[in-house]
Subunit: 344 residues, 2 copies
C-alpha cells in the first residue's frame, strides 16, 4: 500500500481551511455574497440569486447541484448568464424546496429554464420543483447537461454525466435570454449547445469532502485515472502517469471521435483544472490541443483555460470541445458578467 493509500485509510486528518465541517457550505455562501455584493444575494438559505432580483420579461435560468465545484454552479449568476442557483451540501443534491425557491427567485414572468447536470438526485428534485412551480402557474422547461464521454458510450449518451461543458450551455442560454427570446427559444439554444459539447477528464489525486473527512477515492502515488467524474466516479482506465502530450492526445482523439467535427469547422475549447492542478499545467495541455486542432484544420474561438468546474482540491484536468455553428458562436461571444467569467 502506498503512502497515499494509507493516508486515505487513516481518515482522521482533514487538511482543509474550514471551521466545523457542518458549516462549510453556509459559511462559503456567506463569504461569496459578502465578497461580491454587486452580483450575489441569498434571498433564502441555500438559494443564491442575482443581487438585483429577477429581470421582468426575461426568461429566468436556474441551475443547482452539490457544493464543492466553484465557480460552477453558483458562480455563474449574472447578466448574460444565470439568474439563480440552489445549493446542496458538498457533492449532494439540493432539496426540491430549495430548487423551487431558486426558480421563484429567477421568475420574471416569462418562464424558467432548469439547466443542470444529469445526476439522479438533481433530476428527481428538479422534476418535483417543476411540478411545484406549475401549481403556482410558473411555466418551466428542462435541459439536462450530459457532456462527459467517459461516463457512457455514444449509444447511451442520455446516461452521461454533466461536467465542465455545462458552462457553455449556461453562456448560450444566458445570452439568448438576455435577447428577450421566449422560453422555448432559450430552451432550444441551451439544448443545441448542450448537444454540441463533449468533455473528458483525468484525475491525479482526490479531494476531501468536509463532513466525510476522508478522500473521495484512493489512487496510488504513481498513477492517474482517465475518465474519472467530478465526484470521483470511476473512469475508464487507471495506469501509470503519462506525459502531458500523450494524455492530451488521448482526450482529444476521444472527444473528436465522439463529436464528429471536421476540417473547416470551428470549436471553442475549455481546459479546466479540477482544483489543485496549476494554470501552468493547463497551458501545457492547451499547447498540445492547439497543435492538434491546427493539424485537424479546426479553428478555435474564445478558448477558456482555468478553473470553471472543480472538485475542491482534486488534482486533474478536464477538456471540453464545443462545436460551433453561427448561432452558438454568436451566443458565446455575447457580453456576460460575473466574478468568474466576463465577456465584453
Amino acid at each position: 500500500m502506498s503512502a497515499l493509500d494509507s493516508r486515505a485509510d487513516e481518515g482522521d486528518v482533514v487538511k482543509k481551511v474550514m471551521n466545523a465541517p457542518v458549516d462549510y457550505v453556509d459559511e462559503m455562501l456567506d463569504g461569496l455574497c459578502a465578497a461580491h455584493p454587486g452580483y450575489f444575494a441569498q434571498p433564502e438559505r441555500r438559494v443564491i440569486a442575482r443581487q438585483s432580483g429577477p429581470v421582468q420579461g426575461k426568461v429566468g435560468i436556474v441551475t443547482g447541484g452539490g457544493s464543492g465545484h466553484l465557480p460552477i454552479f453558483t458562480g455563474y449568476i449574472g447578466p448574460g448568464l444565470l439568474d439563480a442557483c440552489a445549493i446542496g451540501d458538498v457533492f449532494a443534491s439540493p432539496s426540491a424546496e430549495q430548487m423551487a425557491g431558486a426558480m421563484r427567485c429567477a421568475d420574471g414572468g416569462a418562464g424558467v429554464l432548469r439547466l443542470y447536470g444529469n445526476y439522479g438526485g438533481d433530476v428527481m428534485n428538479f422534476d418535483m420543483a417543476g411540478e411545484m412551480l406549475e401549481m403556482e402557474d410558473i411555466r418551466s422547461t428542462t435541459v439536462l447537461l450530459a457532456d462527459d464521454v467517459a461516463s457512457a458510450p455514444p449509444a447511451e449518451a442520455a446516461k452521461r454525466r454533466g461536467v465542465a461543458g455545462m458552462v457553455y450551455a449556461f453562456k448560450a442560454a444566458g445570452a439568448r435570454a438576455e435577447e428577450r427570446a421566449s422560453l422555448d427559444e432559450v430552451t432550444a439554444a441551451a439544448q443545441k449547445t448542450a448537444d454540441a459539447c463533449r468533455s473528458i477528464g483525468f484525475a491525479l489525486s482526490p479531494c476531501i469532502v468536509p463532513q466525510a473527512g476522508k478522500p473521495t477515492f484512493t489512487l496510488p502515488e504513481d498513477q492517474m485515472e482517465m475518465g474519472m467524474g467530478i465526484h470521483g466516479e470511476p473512469g475508464i482506465w487507471r495506469d501509470k502517469l503519462k506525459p502531458a502530450d500523450a494524455v492530451a492526445d488521448e482526450m482529444f482523439d476521444r472527444l473528436l471521435a465522439d463529436l464528429g467535427a471536421g476540417r473547416g469547422e470551428r470549436v471553442s475549447l475549455l481546459v479546466n483544472s479540477l482544483g489543485a492542478t496549476p494554470l501552468e499545467e493547463l497551458y501545457i495541455v492547451y499547447r498540445r490541443l492547439n497543435a492538434r486542432l491546427g493539424e485537424a484544420g479546426i479553428g478555435i474561438v474564445s478558448p477558456l483555460v482555468g478553473r470553471y468546474a472543480t472538485s475542491m482540491e482534486m488534482a486533474g484536468v478536464t477538456v471540453t470541445l464545443c462545436r460551433l455553428d453561427s448561432e452558438i458562436e454568436h451566443l458565446l461571444l455575447a457580453p456576460c458578467d460575473c466574478p468568474f467569467w466576463t465577456v465584453r
Copy 2:
C-alpha cells in the same frame, strides 16, 4: 515519520501534468500565448509582452520573476496593467539579458518602471538590466515590492519578500501609466501603493518543482505553517491545523497592527489561494475577515478572492490588505484588462 514526510523523501514520484521537466516553462509560455493571442506575444524567448507592442508615449512597466506563480507575474500584462515580463525557470530569477529584453519590449519612449518582488537574484539581475538599458538611453526606475510581514519585523521592512500584494502595485502603476503620467509620477504611484500593502500567508502542503522532482518542503499531515513564503521559505510558527476563523483572526491582527489602519478608513482586501486550496475555503476565510473589518469600522473597496499569486499546487492562503487613500482607490477602480483581471 508521517506519510507525507515519507513521500517527500522518496523523491521519485512527480505527480504533475507535464512532459520533460526541462520543457515545463517554455511549453507553458507557448500555451499561454496560443490561448490568449489577443493579449500576449513572446517576442523573444522567456519574454512575454503585449501582443500589440509598446504603447508610444506611455511609461512602460515591466516585471519579472521565477515561473510557477501564475497568474503573477506573466498574466498581468494588458491595458491598465503591465507591458512586459521576463520569465525565469520555476522559482528562479530570469537573466539580466531577459530582463533587458522585457524592458526594450515595454519601452514606448517615456521610460520604463521595473516593478518586482524583493528577492536577491531578481534585484541583482534587474539592476544589471537597468544599467544595460541606460547605455541605450532608456531611462528606468525601480520599485521593489516587499509586502510579506512574516518575512521580517517592521524595523527591517526593507528585507521583506514580495508576495500577493504585488498585484495592487501592478494595478496602480498600470492605471497611472495609462493616464500618460510621467515616469516619476508612475514610479511614485507604484511606491505609494507598495507601501500601503501588507500580506501574510500560511501553507498546508507543498508543491513540486518540476526539475527538482520533489516537494519544496515537508509538513506533517496534521500541521500548518504560518508565514511561509511562496517558495516555501520558513514561516513564523508551525503547529496543528487550526480552524479557519482562528487562522483568519491571526492574519488579520498581524496585518492590521503592521499597517496601522483605523476606524473610518478604507482598504482593499485580497484573499489568495496558493494553488490547491479551493475557492470555497477562500470564501470561508473572506467571511471572517469581512466581519473583522466591519467590527474595526474599516470599509472594503473592490475585494479580490481567487488565485492571483500562486505556488503551483501548494495548498494555503495569503491575505493582503491595501490601505486606500483617494489616489490609490481611484487607480484600483480604473479599467484594466487581462485574462486574469478585468475592471471596467
